[in-house]
Amino acid sequence: MAKADFQVPKLKQYAEIPPVAPGAMAHSAPFKSKPEFQATLGFPGELAPDWQRQALDKMGDLLGRYRSLRVYLDSCVKCGSCTDKCHYYLGTHDPKNMPVGRQDLMRKVYRRYFTLAGRLFPKLVGAEDFTEEVLADWYSYFHQCSQCRRCSVFCPYGIDTAEISMAAREIMDHIGVGQKYCNEIIGKVYKIGNNLGLPGPALADTLEGLEEDVFDDTGVEVKYPLDQEGAEILLVTPSADFFAEPHVDGLIGYGKVFHEAGVSWTLSSYASEAANFGMFIGSYENMRRVAQRIREAAIKLKVKRIVFGECGHAWRVAYSFLNTLAGPWDFLDQRYPIPQHICEFTYDLMQQGKLRFDKSQNDDKVLTYHDSCNVARASRMGDRPGGQFDIPRAIIRATCNHFYDMDEETIRDRTFCCGGGGGLLTDDLMELRVKGAQPRVEALNNLMQEKGVTHMAAICAICKSQFTKVLPYYGMDMDQIVSVHQLVSNAIILTGQDEEDTPDAGTTEADYADEAA
């Protein structure tokens, strides 16, 4: 772990609403995107002399395109309900990290140029000119929002700060003020096919290694196919699943589930990325361009189904927008959800009694589950409301003997962000990430004290990487965060597996028929 050059928050037994510390995070801003990264995405490379005019034109364009944006900017009544709901406010104490404070950064500009009162009497209605100082504030604080939407759950008007942050980043990109982390990564997707920049041969080598490992462990030839034309299922998963831990343990799990299901499946080197950072920067055009790759791969490989791996915002894009971005999907098998989440896939097999688990393989752990924000608040799973909460938990309960939920104020639709979502998972924002993780880590810590919880499972690549990095700052271990399908991978009994060390403790559908009810 790196040494912290900032104060790591102290974990408390009860959540405290901190007194405000104005300007506490004014110094925080991510590295700016270079002109060449900007150009790849169709944005200018640097600020032009008439940037203010360009920015206001873009804001006008977005206000016309998204009625929601205008409603959000018009309807706030300053009730204060959101003020203590953002993990970044709770962790940093900076009032501009209160959702209303963040919204007001855009609202004051909106009022100045797009409302009559603001044009005539700016001071009376809190309207302000769009100056370079305001722009600097935008760059800093709209990169202190992980677009997790927790505030919107508590806002009586449903104002979604995430959409305001996305719009702000879109406006900034259009005047040449982009963020390096997101924009460089989107460029890599266009050039190579994934966020990491893993070329096909490296993918093939990595997957081959996984096949060897699983064979050594189990004696079963589980395949991890790449670019296999005619396979039934295309798996689209975050590239971190190939590269990082504990992500890869989840990928191993998906493969074992597909193996037991007896379906043919494949990954694509062209669409080797589920993540879609186009959403983080609020760029419909880039989001569409990234999503189109999945369509092209599906057609080329002649698959019948598309399944998404464990990635939070990818599932939001897939579940909520894939049809408008890259549809129609009339060439896929209409009997299955389009697209389907790997958790839905696994859960479905569990219900059919097609998977056998030996839960004792996870007895070295006491689990809890972290609801990832985009899955929890921007999508669904299965065919019942709340399926996105219940299905992953049902999978954990089916594969582990020991599971406890964290404080109910911090789970399900009220879950706290990991602190690294929304395009903020970059080292230059480490202070923000550590401080923003405080509310989640606090709830985890309390459960560790009360119930002896040892591990937290998640279904988002960002959450997994973020906790791996920030837990050590709080005195915890980096490997306390695990993939849900890692638990599946540990417990699943493969047909024909060397069973000498596996007791006959397989569970069938009867054991978890009610789990998700």
């Binding site: 772990m1 790196a2 590295f31 982390y181 460089e184 990564i185 890599k188 994934n194 966020n195 990491l196 920049g197 893993l198 070329p199 041969p201 490296a202 080598d205 990595t206 290694g209 996984l210 490992d213 975050p238 590239s239 971190a240 190939f242 590269f243 990082a244 831990e245 992500h247 890869v248 993540a275 990635c311 998972l425 080292d427 230059d428 690549a461 960002i462 997994k464 990487s465 990095k469 980096m478 490997d479």
Partner: protein, 110 residues
């Protein structure tokens, strides 16, 4: 911000990664390690050299599992894990070791 190695200047990006991988020489790793208060041992060099070889072939740093497996094969099973690698490179093998090896920083959700 450029770094000075044996009187020569090497261009780096804002995060301290070498601007041009082909400029790399062993002294670069030593100077970068010194700035982190780290003494490079033979074990460190084994990792750095493996990263460079892998990059040469695949144009990307190896996945953590590929790396741990290679280390395990070469240096014994007890060392083929991330704990061992984090022991050597406390900022993380992917990021710190890649930087010393002159490789670009792995990007994405890692």
């Amino acid at each position: 911000m450029p770094i000075e190695v044996n009187g020569k200047s090497f261009e780096t990006d804002e995060e301290g990664y070498l601007a041009n991988i082909n400029d790399w020489e062993p002294g670069v790793a030593s100077v970068m390690a010194k700035e982190d208060d780290l003494e490079l041992t033979d074990e460190h060099w084994d990792i750095i050299n493996f990263l460079r070889e892998y990059y040469e072939e695949y144009q990307i740093a190896p996945a953590v599992r590929v790396l741990t497996k290679a280390v395990g094969k070469k240096m014994g099973k007890d060392k083929g894990n991330s704990k061992y690698l984090y022991g050597l490179f406390p900022y993380g093998p992917a990021k710190q070791a890649c930087r010393y090896a002159g490789l670009p920083k792995p990007t994405g959700c890692v």
